[in-house]
């Protein structure tokens, strides 16, 4: 184990109970360590991507645009411009002579062709080096075409994903405050930090509707430019995935005096707590809101609990590992696994803050490994050491789990299954059950190594029973 962890990374790994809690985080990834992190551009791209009626033009060589083309399950109820990939596809001559002219022509042509409500122009590594005046070109095109054309300062090397989140928030903030705000209810919110993967924001919106709360802007799942423009008319900002959108919430609080609440729609407690917090906020304006919320939670839970119980019966005592992008998901997942009677043996994130890790330390059991900015060698050794039954992560984590014969649940942007809301908890339980209880693991070398000959015989009988 010790051999697997770089000396430089020792302070980014903590084993609860073995030493006083202290963790280093938010630092640059170590060269050669095969971090699971991406870059600044990635951070901006994930946040802005679900704005469905905007042009998203990546100014740079083709890679950055092609690797982010329609890879996320951010659904739209209308326009689908976000599902295309537009790039200036810079060539050697552009690098030598500058890419401003190409960017100008690409932008004007595309705006004429696809008629977007706004354009986001993403800067990439190379643009930061060759010194194109992105803002200047954007201003010019904005003036000519009459739509907002917003530069996103997302040069890949200028920090990590969090810097990209911040750049995206600054870009969106340019739109906020430019639209009309009449007809907005005093019971109104913006949903920040939900990307409508597998239609999740629609689940949350439906709950809010039942509570009598109006949603002004989805930021950014199933997002619309015009909604963002009038987002300053909302009474409250709901911030999930705090890493990605809290900067926008803070900017809106400062300029427009809109308070924000940190929420999470994953898992039973967090979902219910979030709804109660929202009701609490509006209770002075509408004394009935809390009653409606209680009724909603009661209805949902009475449907969910009996079904959840079935899964819990099978999953009780199984072990889970979690490695996700943002730490907020990890909090909810730790609690969600507890609901299923499972323990969490490893929890980590790519971009957690000191506060995040403190919270993780508080909610986890002794012996749990907590890790920041991990890599395949560490993750694989933790999975083996802890002998877990399921690993929750994204595409890059999946083959590590599968190769070792460990179940897997995709909790990243590629997923096609809604995991938010009360129904999401049920979907999550189903997915965990489907992978953990699959009969395939008994054939994998890792499990076979633990089985004695006689147990293998039992397995053969079991298989026969299944087949019959």
């Amino acid at each position: 184990m010790a051999e697997t962890i770089f000396a430089e990374r020792k302070d980014q790994v903590h084993r609860k109970g073995e030493e006083p809690f202290q963790m280093t985080c938010d630092k640059e990834s170590l060269a050669g360590a095969v971090s699971q992190r991406a870059c600044v551009f990635c951070g901006s791209r994930v946040v802005l991507y679900p704005i469905t009626d905007a042009l998203h033009l990546v100014h740079g060589p083709i890679g950055c645009a092609v690797y982010t083309w329609d890879i996320r399950g951010a659904l739209s109820s209308g326009p689908e411009l976000h599902r295309h990939s537009y790039s200036t596809d810079l060539q050697e001559s552009d690098v030598i002579f500058g890419g401003e002219d190409k960017l100008y022509r690409a932008l004007t042509q595309l705006i004429d062709r696809i008629n977007p409500k706004a354009a986001f122009v993403y800067s990439t590594c190379i643009v930061g080096i060759i010194g194109d005046d992105l803002a200047g070109v954007c201003r010019k095109v904005e003036h000519e075409k009459g739509i907002p054309v917003i530069p996103v300062e997302s040069e890949g090397f200028k920090g990590n994903k969090r810097a990209g989140y911040n750049a995206a928030c600054r870009a969106m903030f340019q739109l906020v405050g430019t639209g009309p705000i009449d007809d907005i209810s005093p019971l109104s919110v913006n949903i920040l930090g939900d990307f409508n993967l597998a239609g999740e924001i629609w689940i949350v919106r439906e709950y809010l509707e039942r509570m009598g709360v109006q949603v002004v802007a989805n930021i950014t799942g199933d997002g619309r430019v015009d909604d963002l423009r009038r987002a300053h008319g909302a009474a409250l900002n709901l911030v999930q995935c705090s890493g990605s959108t809290i900067d926008l919430a803070k900017m809106m609080e400062e300029k427009y005096g809109i308070p924000f609440l940190r929420v999470s729609y994953f898992g039973v407690e967090d979902m219910a707590d979030s709804l109660y917090k929202i009701a609490e906020f509006f209770k002075d304006i509408d004394p009935q809101v809390m009653e409606r919320t209680k009724a909603l939670v009661r209805d949902e839970l009475s449907e969910l609990y009996p079904r959840l119980k079935e899964y819990r019966k099978a999953l009780e005592g199984k072990k889970a590992a979690i490695y996700v992008g943002g730490a907020f998901k990890a909090f909810s997942l730790v609690k969600a696994f507890r609901h299923l009677g499972m323990t969490v043996a490893l929890v980590g994130s790519q971009t957690g803050t000191e506060e995040d890790y403190k919270e993780l330390h508080e909610i986890t059991d002794p012996g749990t490994i907590i890790v920041d900015d991990s890599n395949p060698l560490e993750l694989s050794s933790f999975l083996q050491e802890k002998d877990v039954d399921i690993f929750v992560g994204g595409v890059k984590e999946r083959p590590i789990a599968y190769k070792l014969g460990v179940g897997f649940c995709d909790h990243n942007h590629e997923r096609k299954e809604a995991l938010e809301g009360f129904v999401g908890m049920l979907n999550f339980a189903k997915e965990v059950y489907a992978t953990v209880m699959s009969p395939v693991w008994r054939f994998t070398p890792r499990k076979r190594a633990y089985l004695s000959k006689s147990q293998e015989m039992d397995v053969c009988h079991e298989i026969k029973a299944i087949q019959n």
Binding site: F6, C42, T68, Q91, D94, I126, F157
Partner: protein, 465 residues
């Protein structure tokens, strides 16, 4: 997708400046794939962290295997003062943790633009850290220049293969009677089959790259830091002693050819052949093996060939006269065009996202014997161009990567998934399309795709077609 519906087709004089829905990836990705095919190798991108992570995700989604790509993880200060120190630190860290046999360093747009002299930095590294290198068994370090703004993943792939040969090959013989085979970017299953063929002719194959195990490995009890398999470095070092080099790729330019280096430097004769898809291109490959070994094609393959011809006859009416659109890497498209032509399907449009100077000539060479009207052939295009050109052709089927699915869906025609990336189907690493056996798989798949389309569209619900 249909935003242009009401507007006239663009003319050649006013091409769109932007690339919409690209039909290519960037050069460093191709280099990483090539490096993945060397035994004990870790691909290493000299650039910012995002490149490595994005490419890993993209490649993993296709192969469904762990794909570790290291990065020098450059930050802002490195971009200003140079990435050398981080490159060296990264190399040391990879050596220390991976116990690798080779580190394949590919550059990115960032490091090419800030002016890092990567070959010099690698050389410096070898001098400065000679003891540390020795401590870790002296792993080879191969470097290749792959700025993302020049060429595509296809160029990155070939450049890396060429760099490996250029920097490692010698005439130190380890195994006798070897044949060098440069297959290009083909599937792990196809790679396994190519090795089998060469073996059956009594030769020892040195296939570069060999991703047959590294990107399609067995389940493991212990996590392998670097998956087993890949071309052994000793075999690469012995490439200068082979009896022949066979290199697939009618579109390959001389400057991109790895076999040319072996011919120039070690007098290893080189045969440049088309990627063996279909009967005729496979015949050419088998004839080349017959010629070099003075052996007849083993009965096993004669039988495969016989069955293939038999099936061409059995299935010809299902596909005869159908119109297809093919897109993907130039050499795969050429092979598919050759194959489709010989089974009576018209490749109406042959398209590639890469820039390729020989693409047009190669398509003509493999189709003109049979085809009455030449195909439309386009290189350096995106899916917007492909859609615009293909729409008026009313094609019956599409052949290419997952990324054409939206077109197939729009036109309600089958998409036969081939090439890279395949992100919406299972088993991409096991797709066979080379040789008689692979062509057989492909033929069956295509005929069935056409049958299914007919069946699905019929109101009758035939159970017998």
């Amino acid at each position: 997708m249909c935003v242009m519906k009401s507007k006239p087709f663009k003319t050649k004089k006013e091409p769109y400046v932007a690339t919409t829905d690209s039909c290519k990836q960037c050069a460093p990705l191709g280099a990483c794939l090539a490096f993945k095919g060397v035994e004990g190798s870790v691909p290493f991108l000299h650039g910012s962290q995002g490149c490595a992570t994005y490419m890993r995700r993209y490649v993993i989604s296709h192969f469904r295997e762990p794909v570790d790509i290291a990065s020098s993880s450059l930050g802002e200060k490195h971009a200003i003062y140079g990435g050398g120190p981080n490159l060296k630190l990264g190399l040391r860290n990879v050596m220390a943790k991976y116990h690798c046999g080779l580190i394949g360093v590919a550059t990115t747009c960032l490091t090419e633009t800030i002016g890092d002299d990567t070959p010099r930095l690698v050389k410096e590294f070898r001098d400065e850290f000679a003891d540390e290198l020795a401590c870790h068994g002296n792993p080879s370090i191969v470097n290749v220049s792959t700025p993302s703004y020049a060429g595509s993943h296809v160029d990155g792939f070939h450049s890396a293969v060429r760099a490996i040969v250029d920097q490692l090959a010698s005439n130190v013989q380890t195994v006798k009677n070897t044949l060098n085979l440069f297959p290009g970017f083909v599937s792990p299953a196809d790679t396994r089959y190519l090795k089998e063929i060469v073996h059956d002719f009594g030769l020892n194959p040195v296939v570069l790259p060999d991703i047959s195990e590294t990107l399609d490995g067995p389940a493991a009890a212990e996590y392998e830091k670097i998956p087993s398999g890949g071309t052994p470095i000793a075999s690469i070092k012995g490439m200068g002693t082979a009896v022949l080099s066979v290199e697939f790729g009618r579109c390959l330019t001389d400057s991109m050819s790895a076999s040319n280096i072996l011919e120039d430097r070690f007098n290893v004769r080189s045969r440049r052949l088309g990627t063996p898809i279909g009967l005729r291109e496979t015949d050419i490959f088998m004839n080349a093996l017959e010629e070099i070994t003075s052996r007849k094609t083993p009965v096993k393959y004669e039988l495969e060939r016989g069955r293939l011809v038999d099936s061409y006859v059995d299935g010809h009416k299902y596909v005869s006269g159908k119109k297809a659109v093919i897109y993907g890497d130039p050499d795969m498209v050429v092979g598919l065009a050759s194959f489709l032509t010989e089974i009576g399907i018209k490749p109406m449009l042959c398209a590639t996202g890469a820039k390729s100077q020989h693409f047009k000539t190669a398509i003509k060479a493999v189709t003109e014997e049979i085809l009455d009207e030449p195909s439309e052939v386009l290189d350096n295009v995106d899916f917007f161009d492909i859609e615009e050109t293909a729409e008026k052709m009313s094609p019956d089927l599409l052949l290419g990567s997952s990324k054409g699915y939206k077109l197939a869906r729009k036109w309600n025609i089958p998409l036969v998934r081939l090439g890279f990336p395949i992100h919406d189907r299972f088993g991409a690493q096991r797709i066979c399309q080379l040789g008689y056996k692979g062509t057989q798989d492909l033929f069956d798949t295509i005929v069935n795709a056409v049958i299914q389309a007919t069946q699905d569209r019929s109101a009758i619900g035939y159970t017998y077609i």
